[in-house]
């Protein structure tokens, strides 16, 4: 069968389709009220979710610093002053990284129209998410280092307080006891760090990671025109 024969079949089929699915103005108006789920719309939605997560994170940090820490720690325990700038640095990195991502994404969306500059828009979004992924993992590494240092400092403080309570110094701890303290510490620290890392990675992939694949696939198709063999 020749392809030209298909044109008449297609015309008959598409007019049959139109008759079957023809919508009135009211139906079209009704459909317009509802949300859609294109790739860009979904990324938009997830950026809003990410923003909510960041706001919750900021709220948690504030509550933790000004309320929870004071509630949990007894007056005899003092939070090491040298850890404050480290905490602030780690939190600021997480928040600024995300704000940078949102700002860049917003600029890309303002610069290109989806109906006429789809390829440029998708390329821009893809580059922005890729850059954010690198920055996100850098921020995660900084956060995890901060957690490790905080944990070790807390462990040290705990042992110091316990030995102080029985009027002994740190030097009184035997090697076997020190080894047990280190092993117990590691038993808590390793799952904590691994769990945090995998949770953050899962969160990133859930919000943005899966769209990297879809964006790449779509761009690959659109890019065919650039790599065409004439």
């Amino acid at each position: 069968m020749e392809l030209k024969d298909l044109k008449s079949a297609w015309t008959a089929y598409s007019s049959q389709e139109l008759d079957k699915h023809q919508l009135g103005k009211e139906n079209i108006h009704e459909l317009l009220k509802n949300r859609t789920k294109t790739l860009v719309d979904r990324i938009d939605r997830n950026i809003r979710i990410g923003m909510a997560v960041i706001l919750i994170f900021i709220a948690y940090v504030i509550i933790d610093d000004f309320y929870l820490s004071k509630l949990i720690l007894s007056e005899s325990v003092r939070y090491p002053a040298w850890m404050v700038p480290m905490d602030v640095f780690s939190n600021v990195i997480i928040v600024t990284t995300y704000l940078f991502f949102v700002f860049r994404y917003w600029k890309i969306k303002q610069s290109f129209l989806p109906d006429t500059q789809l390829k440029d828009l998708l390329t821009g979004i893809l580059d922005t998410i890729k850059t954010y992924r690198r920055m996100f993992y850098l921020a995660v590494v900084i956060l995890l280092i901060n957690m490790v240092v905080s944990f070790i400092a807390g462990l040290y403080q705990g042992v110091k307080i316990r030995t102080g309570a029985i009027n002994e110094g740190l030097e009184s701890i035997t090697m076997s006891r020190l080894l047990i303290i280190i092993l117990v510490g590691l038993a808590f620290l390793i799952p904590l760090i691994a769990g945090t890392f995998f949770l953050l990675r899962w969160g990133f992939n859930k919000l943005y990671g899966k769209y990297l694949i879809k964006l790449n696939e779509t761009l690959l198709e659109l890019d065919e025109s650039d790599n065409a063999e004439f």
């Binding site: 392809l3 699915h21 859609t36 860009v40 989806p114 779509t218 659109l222």
Partner: protein, 162 residues
């Protein structure tokens, strides 16, 4: 502006139905895509400046939306099968020859990529290479090259089915 938009879309809704037919096998997916295209058209409507024909602009927005539409894996149609909906519709066509042709066309088209589907749709709609290039945003030369490849691919696919 909304009234004007509704009027013009109601008159030209055939374009959206055609795009949905070529991109989706399942009725549910078609409904979703129809809605997605509609909302994208509404969002892009303020940027339409009558530099091109309305139908050209509408095809462009509809095809770009179809290419970037996000379907969950479980609802992606079987690439080798023909949908029940399309078969049923084809059966309703009085001409047996046309019915077979539609079956074959659906089967073959479902195996094309998103961009290929847009080009074959415009070809079936009797659009000139110049207009296909304008709608898809690729050069006329490349449309020719791509069209030849699609024709060969479709012939091969349909001959396998015959």
């Amino acid at each position: 502006m909304e009234k004007e938009f509704l009027q013009i879309i109601t008159e030209n809704q055939g374009i959206i139905h055609k795009v949905c037919s070529i991109y989706c096998d399942l009725e549910e997916d078609r409904r979703d895509l129809f809605q997605e295209i509609l909302v994208q058209l509404w969002k892009s409507y303020p940027s339409f400046r009558s530099e091109s024909k309305f139908s050209t602009w509408m095809y462009r927005v509809a095809l770009n939306t179809a290419i970037t539409s996000f379907k969950k894996d479980k609802r992606q149609p079987d690439k080798t099968g023909v949908s029940y909906e399309n078969l049923q519709l084809a059966e309703e066509l009085y001409d047996t020859g046309a019915e077979d042709q539609i079956k074959m066309l659906n089967q073959a088209v479902s195996q094309l990529t998103g961009v290929e589907k847009s080009i074959i749709l415009l070809f079936l709609e009797d659009k000139k290479y110049e207009e296909i290039a304008e709608i898809t945003g690729i050069t006329q030369n490349y449309v020719r090259v791509k069209m030849n490849r699609i024709k060969k691919k479709l012939k091969l696919l349909m001959n396998q089915e015959e």
